[in-house]
C-alpha cells in the first residue's frame, strides 16, 4: 500500500510533464477516475478511489499543476469489464487526458480501444504485463512495473531470505491466486523462474470473488509449501488470511502482492 502515494505522484508528474510540453489552452486538465466502491472488490477499491481523489484535491488546493487545475469525475465500474468499457466511452468524450482503469480486466478490454482514440492508458503496478514493450502497445503506460515485476521481486526476496536464488532448489512455492486475468498474470514469469531455480510451483486457483477457499487451503495444508504467494484482491484477501490461520500456515511465510 506504500506504493499508492508514489503511484499518484508518478501520474501527476506524467500529466504535469504532458501539460508543460504543450501549453494547455484550457486552464483545466480533465482526469476521469474509474473506481469501484461497490461489490466484492470494494475493500480495495474504496481506499484507492479515496486516495486518488484526495491527492487530486490536494494538488488543486496547492494551486494545481503549474497553475492548471485538475478537473475529475468518478465512474463506478464495480470491477466489471463491461461497466468499465461503458465508463470509458462516457468519460473519454469529455476530453480525458488519460485513463487509469484500476482493473486488469478493464485494461485488457481498453488496450484495443486506446490506440484508436489516442488516449494513454496508465496502469500503475498492474495491467497487461506484456505492455512493457512500448513498440507494440503504444498507448499503454505501465508505470512502476507490472505483475511480472511484482512476482520477480517476490522470488528475489525469497531467494535472499534463503541465502541465494540457487537455494530455492527443491523448495515448494504455492501461488494462491484469484482466478481471473489479474491472478493469472504472474504465472508465466513464476513458471520460468521455477525452471531456472528448480523450485516447485503449485498453482492453486481461487474462484472469483474468493469467499470460498476451504478447498484451496486444504491443499496448502496437504502440500505443506515452504512459501505461499497470495495473489488476491478485495474480499479474497481477508478470507485467505482467515483460512491461513485456520490451517495453521505461518504468516511470515505468506507474501501478498
Amino acid at each position: 500500500m506504500k506504493f499508492k502515494p508514489l503511484a499518484l505522484a508518478a501520474t501527476l508528474v506524467t500529466l504535469g510533464a504532458a501539460s508543460f510540453a504543450t501549453p494547455a489552452m484550457a486552464q483545466e486538465q480533465y482526469i476521469p477516475l474509474l473506481s469501484y466502491r461497490t461489490g466484492a472488490y470494494a475493500p480495495n477499491g474504496i481506499p484507492w478511489a479515496n486516495g486518488k481523489q484526495d491527492y487530486l484535491k490536494y494538488v488543486n488546493a496547492n494551486g494545481g499543476v503549474n497553475g492548471v487545475k485538475i478537473a475529475y469525475e468518478e465512474c463506478e465500474t464495480g470491477y466489471a469489464t463491461d461497466k468499465g468499457v461503458e465508463c470509458y466511452e462516457r468519460l473519454k468524450g469529455r476530453g480525458a487526458s488519460s485513463f487509469d482503469p484500476q482493473s486488469t480486466g478493464i485494461t485488457f478490454a481498453l488496450t484495443d480501444k486506446a490506440p484508436i482514440d489516442k488516449i494513454p492508458l496508465i496502469t500503475l503496478g498492474y495491467g497487461l504485463a506484456a505492455s512493457q514493450d512500448g513498440g507494440v502497445f503504444k498507448w499503454n503506460f505501465p508505470l512502476m512495473g507490472s505483475y511480472w515485476t511484482a512476482a520477480d521481486i517476490l522470488i528475489q526476496h525469497l531467494g535472499e531470505k534463503e541465502g541465494g536464488l540457487d537455494k530455492l532448489k527443491g523448495k515448494k512455492i504455492a501461488l494462491v491466486y484469484h482466478d481471473s486475468p489479474f491472478g493469472k498474470e504472474p504465472i508465466p514469469l513464476l513458471q520460468k523462474r521455477a525452471e531456472m531455480h528448480g523450485f516447485q510451483l503449485n498453482l492453486l486457483p481461487v474462484t472469483a470473488p474468493g469467499v470460498e477457499q476451504k478447498a484451496t487451503w486444504l491443499q496448502v495444508r496437504r502440500d505443506r509449501p515452504d512459501y505461499v504467494l497470495l495473489w488476491g484482491w478485495g474480499v479474497m484477501n481477508s478470507t485467505a488470511l482467515k483460512e491461513a490461520v485456520a490451517t495453521g500456515f505461518p504468516r511470515e511465510k505468506m507474501y501478498g502482492v
Partner: protein
C-alpha cells in the same frame, strides 16, 4: 381518434394473419426502423452508439432468446450467461483456429454450439419444473464458468485467460467504427426478432405456449413435451449464443469468463420480467430499461447539481431494480409490454371511452 382501425377491412387470410394487422402500427414500425437505420447513424454521437445503443441491441437480442424459453415455454433458466459464453468462446475458437473464417459464419456456428449445450442442459426440463429446473440450469452457468477458466484449449491457451478479437469485417466491410458496429448489430437483431416473432406465431410457438400454460393438458391434446421443451431450449440458446458472440466481439472486444457470469444471467432474467414475459417487444423494452436506468441515474445528480457519490448511485440502481421487480411481479406480471398494449387499447377508444 388517431389510433383506430375502422375501415381497415381484411379481404384475405394473408392480410388477417400479418404481424401488425393495424395500419397505424405498421406505420409506427416503419418509422421506428427508418429512425434506427437512417436517422440514428446520421445524428448519433460515438458515446450514444458505444455505450447505449450497441449494448441495448445486444442485450435485447439475448433477452429475446431468453423470453422464448421463459416467457413462451415457461421453463425458467438461470443459465443465459452460460449460453452466451458458449457462443462467444465457440465463435472465438472458430475465428482463431480456422484461417479466413468469416464473422457471420463464426457467429452462426457459435450460436449452433450454444444450441447443442442448451439442449443438453435442457434435458432435465423433461422431468423437473420451476425452481428445480432453475437450479439445474444454474449448473450450466457454473460449469461453463469453470470450463472457460480452467480448460486452456478454449481460450487458445491464453495465459491470462482473457481473449480478444480484432479486425472484424463482414463481406470486406470493416466493423470498426461505432456506426458500422451499430448497424451490424441492428441488422442481426432485426432479422432475429422477425424470426422469433414468426416462430412464436407458428405451430411450434403455440406448442410452447400450451406447454407453458399447462403441460399435462398439452400432452393430452397431443403435444410432445420432449419436442416442445427441447426446441424451446434449442431456439432460445441459439439466439442467446449469437447475442453472446455480439457482446464479446462487437461490444467488449476483449473478454474474460467474468463477462458472462451469473450476474449476466440474472440481469437478463430481470429484463425479461420487467419487459414482459411472453412478448417480443417486452425484450426490447426490458433491455432499454435495464441499459438506460443506470446511465440516467448516474447522470441525474449531475444535471440537478446534487453531488452524490458513485457508490450511492450504484446502490440506488440495485435498490430501484429490486423494488421494480417486486412491483412488476405483483402488479403487472406481463411487464412493460403489457402496459404498452393497455395504453394502445385505451388509445383506440380515446377520446370517447365508454
Amino acid at each position: 381518434m388517431l389510433y383506430r382501425e375502422n375501415g381497415q377491412f381484411k379481404t384475405s387470410y394473408a392480410a388477417d394473419q400479418q404481424i401488425f394487422p393495424i395500419l397505424q402500427d405498421r406505420w409506427a414500425l416503419g418509422l421506428l426502423l427508418l429512425v434506427a437505420f437512417v436517422v440514428m447513424p446520421l445524428v448519433g454521437s460515438e458515446y450514444f452508439f458505444r455505450a447505449i445503443l450497441i449494448p441495448f441491441l445486444i442485450l435485447a437480442l439475448a433477452a429475446l432468446g431468453l423470453n422464448i424459453l421463459v416467457g413462451y415455454c415457461g421453463q425458467i433458466s438461470l443459465g443465459t450467461g452460460a449460453f452466451m459464453a458458449v457462443g462467444a468462446y465457440a465463435a472465438y475458437n472458430f475465428m482463431v483456429r480456422i484461417d479466413g473464417m468469416p464473422l457471420i459464419v463464426a457467429m452462426l456456428l457459435g450460436g449452433l454450439c450454444a444450441t447443442v449445450i442448451g439442449v443438453l442442459f435442457g434435458i432435465p426440463s423433461l422431468r423437473i419444473k420451476g425452481l428445480y429446473l432453475a437450479v439445474a440450469t444454474l449448473a450450466a452457468q457454473f460449469f461453463t464458468d469453470w470450463a472457460f477458466l480452467r480448460i486452456g484449449w478454449f481460450t487458445n491457451n491464453s495465459t491470462s485467460g482473457s481473449v480478444s478479437v480484432a479486425n472484424l469485417n463482414v463481406f470486406g466491410i470493416p466493423i470498426e467504427s461505432p456506426v458500422s458496429k451499430y448497424l451490424f448489430c441492428l441488422v442481426v437483431v432485426c432479422l432475429f426478432a422477425l424470426m422469433a416473432k414468426n416462430l412464436t406465431r407458428s405451430a411450434i410457438g403455440r406448442q410452447w405456449m400450451a406447454i407453458r400454460d399447462m403441460d399435462v393438458a398439452a400432452a393430452v391434446i397431443g403435444i410432445r413435451p420432449v419436442y416442445a421443451k427441447l426446441t424451446a431450449f434449442a431456439v432460445s440458446s441459439f439466439i442467446v449464443g449469437v447475442a453472446g458472440v455480439l457482446w464479446a466481439f462487437v461490444y467488449l472486444g476483449a473478454w474474460e469468463p467474468a463477462a458472462f457470469s451469473i450476474d449476466r444471467s440474472f440481469q437478463l432474467l430481470f429484463m425479461v420480467i420487467i419487459g414482459g414475459l411472453g412478448s417480443i417487444s417486452g425484450a426490447f423494452l426490458g433491455a432499454a430499461f435495464m441499459v438506460l436506468l443506470p446511465v440516467v441515474l448516474d447522470q441525474l445528480p449531475h444535471w440537478l447539481g446534487i453531488p452524490i457519490s458513485t457508490a450511492t448511485v450504484s446502490h440506488l440502481v440495485h435498490m430501484i431494480f429490486g423494488a421494480l421487480i417486486v412491483f412488476f411481479l405483483i402488479v403487472e406480471p406481463h411487464g412493460l409490454a403489457k402496459l404498452w398494449s393497455v395504453g394502445k387499447q385505451k388509445m383506440r377508444l380515446w377520446p370517447f371511452p365508454h
